[in-house]
């Protein structure tokens, strides 16, 4: 490999990795705290990507500025979905394990609901828009400006989210709820508020990831499931529910992906899966999972 290829592999790996990290952190907080293994996570990404597309092409709204609409919208939608569906499910479930199984199935139902509503609205054809496609030089390799911006935003948001969970008062409540919801409730944390909030935060991260993805790649109504699978792999790789694990895992997967693409682009998903398989056999609880 020459130097240009190496730079390309690293930068594009970081770009994809940072977006994977966002998606995986979203899934991680939804599973780690709210205990919902959200198989419809990718569909939120898809809807956000289409919304950004629509805002840009119909109203000329700057994709980054549309985050001002997308972020609160997805936070609210996620909050409401948990508050209505998953809270009911949690109260009816006899055991936590039963809730996990049932919520996975409900999330799968949600996948079909969201995807088919999107199909009725936007159809099945891929689309793309072009914004800031001029190139920038990084160590002699040209990258589109929108890719570089997406990378910067994703890293900044990822770090901000990590700091929020680890340093803020609300973050402390979230971590307490993740450890033991019942005890956290006794300590004066309103579980019926914190769990939906976590689900909403996960949806928010998916929303921003969708927004960034639409800046860099073409979008389609079927794009969601691929990202859900990637998020599942990253989250399992980093340890279920571990937010730093997801952050690091996202970048690992991004770099591995861009290396594999150099040799055989059709095999990137196979490589991800092989990586997960090896890791789970070696460490059944993931990289940073508690054993």
């Amino acid at each position: 490999m020459d130097k240009a290829t190496i730079v390309w592999v690293i930068i594009s790996g970081l770009l994809n990795g940072s977006i994977y990290a966002l998606i995986a952190m979203g899934l991680s907080i939804q599973y780690g705290v709210a205990k919902v293994l959200n198989l419809s996570h990718g569909e939120f990404i898809m809807v956000a990507a289409w919304l950004t597309f629509a805002f840009f092409t119909s109203f000329g709204i700057n994709p980054l500025a549309s985050a001002a609409i997308t972020a609160p919208l997805f936070l609210g939608i996620g909050f409401l979905i948990h508050r209505t569906i998953f809270t009911t499910l949690r109260k009816r479930a006899p055991t936590p394990a039963a809730f996990e199984g049932n919520s996975l199935l409900v999330a799968f139902g949600l996948l079909y609901v969201v995807q088919n509503i999107a199909l009725l609205i936007w159809g099945g054809k891929p689309r793309a828009y072009f914004w800031l496609t001029s190139g920038v030089d990084i160590l002699g390799v040209r990258f589109a400006l929108n890719n570089v911006i997406a990378l910067a935003v994703a890293v900044a948001l990822g770090v901000a989210f990590y700091v929020f969970v680890n340093r803020s008062r609300l973050g402390k409540a979230i971590r307490a709820a993740a450890q033991d919801p019942a005890t956290a409730g006794l300590m004066g944390i309103n579980i019926n508020w914190v769990l939906p909030l976590c689900f909403g935060l996960g949806a928010l991260l998916a929303g921003i990831a969708g927004l960034l993805l639409s800046m860099c790649y073409s979008i389609s109504t079927f794009m969601g499931i691929g990202y859900t699978v990637i998020a599942l792999i990253v989250v399992a790789l980093g340890g279920l529910g571990s937010i730093p694990g997801s952050f690091i895992g996202g970048f690992i997967l991004g770099i591995v992906g861009s290396i594999v693409v150099q040799f055989e682009s059709a095999l990137s998903m196979v490589a991800f899966y092989a990586l997960l398989m090896i890791l789970l056999v070696a460490r059944p609880k993931g990289l940073l999972g508690k054993t």
């Binding site: 599973y31 293994l37 569906i85 009911t88 499910l89 009816r92 394990a97 996990e100 199984g101 049932n102 996975l104 199935l105 409900v106 799968f108 139902g109 949600l110 996948l111 079909y112 609901v113 969201v114 995807q115 088919n116 509503i117 199909l119 009725l120 499931i225 699978v229 599942l232 792999i233 989250v235 399992a236 279920l240 055989e264 059709a266 095999l267 998903m269 196979v270 899966y273 997960l276 398989m277 789970l280 056999v281 059944p284 609880k285």
Partner: protein, 332 residues
């Protein structure tokens, strides 16, 4: 096994009912139209997939999302052994081979994955189907250079009879496993795996073996259906839909009794067959809504309603007898 079980009146009734259904099915092609036989093929397929899914996941509590994987493996086995250019083996042998190849795959993946607990297992099996899909796409586009496989076609009626035999064997296997030491061992794993291990159950072996047996029937169903569909490609064979439909059907029908999943599968397969092609988006949309509502409001499934209804009816009868005095206590 206890002989007295079979002599009781209830067992005779059940045996008679099963026999009547089988006779009805076996003679159906003589009076049903070709398209009606086609509907039955779909129903039988889903019954096999659902019952074999429940065989492993229903009792052990390990949620396998690899049905699509084993179903697809069966299909591709048939594609290689029963191609358009001329069958290499007779059809029954192809179906058995489809089952065996799935069995071996399940044995190997089971040895690796069944150490994983809870959600890790679900994620892994989910990914397994996706992995096979991508591997097959790669194989077809990059190595053999064309997408999709054509098979020697068989008629609806042939597929129908093969699937009846596979279904009967699946139900028989499910019944025998339920009433054997293996079934008891699986139940104890489902209740508490640690306790089962302490009581001397070789949990890994029990799990791997039942996982592989259930995969055998999924693979056999795939191998029987692929020639009927004449053409398969990775997106047909490894469609995640086939991983989730059996779960939904089992949950809908209820998993406590063996006939629960059968009823669930029959109802859903019928509606799918009649509605999916006509209104694809709305069908899938309502499929999603139905899944959500069923899980929230019908956790025991249809057959789970039976004891509840009995309770409710019992409560009403008791109330009538006591002249309405015990209103408050009747349901508690």
């Amino acid at each position: 096994m206890d002989i007295s079980k079979f002599t009781s009146k209830k067992s005779l009734l059940v045996a008679g009912l099963v026999l009547a259904i089988l006779v009805f099915l076996a003679t159906f092609p003589t009076y049903g139209s070709n398209s009606e036989v086609g509907i039955w093929v779909t129903i039988l397929m889903y019954i096999i997939l659902t019952v074999s899914w429940v065989m492993f996941s229903g009792t052990t509590g390990y949620m396998s999302l690899a049905v699509a994987a084993f179903f697809g493996i069966g299909m591709y086995t048939a594609a290689f052994l029963y191609p358009k250019s001329g069958p290499l083996l007779p059809l029954p042998a192809v179906v058995i081979m489809g089952g065996l190849v799935s069995f071996v795959f399940a044995l190997l993946t089971g040895l690796v994955t069944l150490r994983l607990k809870g959600m890790y297992f679900a994620i892994f099996t989910f990914g397994f189907s996706v992995l096979l899909y991508h591997l097959m796409v790669y194989y077809e586009l990059q190595i053999i250079g064309y997408r999709g496989q054509r098979l020697t076609p068989i008629t609806n009626v042939t597929a129908f009879y093969i699937l009846i035999i596979v279904m009967v064997l699946t139900l028989l296997a499910a019944y025998l496993i339920r009433h054997s030491r293996l079934g008891l061992a699986m139940q104890s794993i489902g209740e508490s795996e640690d306790a089962a291990a302490h009581m001397g159950v070789n949990t890994t072996m029990v799990k791997v073996i039942t996982f592989a047996i259930s995969a055998f029937f999924m693979g056999a169903a795939g191998a029987a259906l692929a020639p009927k569909w004449e053409y398969i490609d990775p997106s047909v064979a490894f469609n995640m839909f086939y991983s989730f439909m059996p779960v939904l059907m089992a949950v809908f029908g209820g998993m406590r009794e063996l006939y629960g999943p059968v009823i669930g599968a029959a109802i859903f397969a019928y509606t799918e067959r009649t509605l999916r092609l006509r209104f694809p988006y709305y069908y899938m949309l309502s499929f999603g809504i139905a899944l959500i509502l069923i899980i929230i409001y019908l956790p025991g499934g249809l057959t789970g309603l039976v004891p509840t209804l009995k309770d409710k009816l019992g409560g009403v009868i008791a109330r009538l007898r006591k002249g309405g005095q015990s209103d408050r206590h009747a349901n508690t």
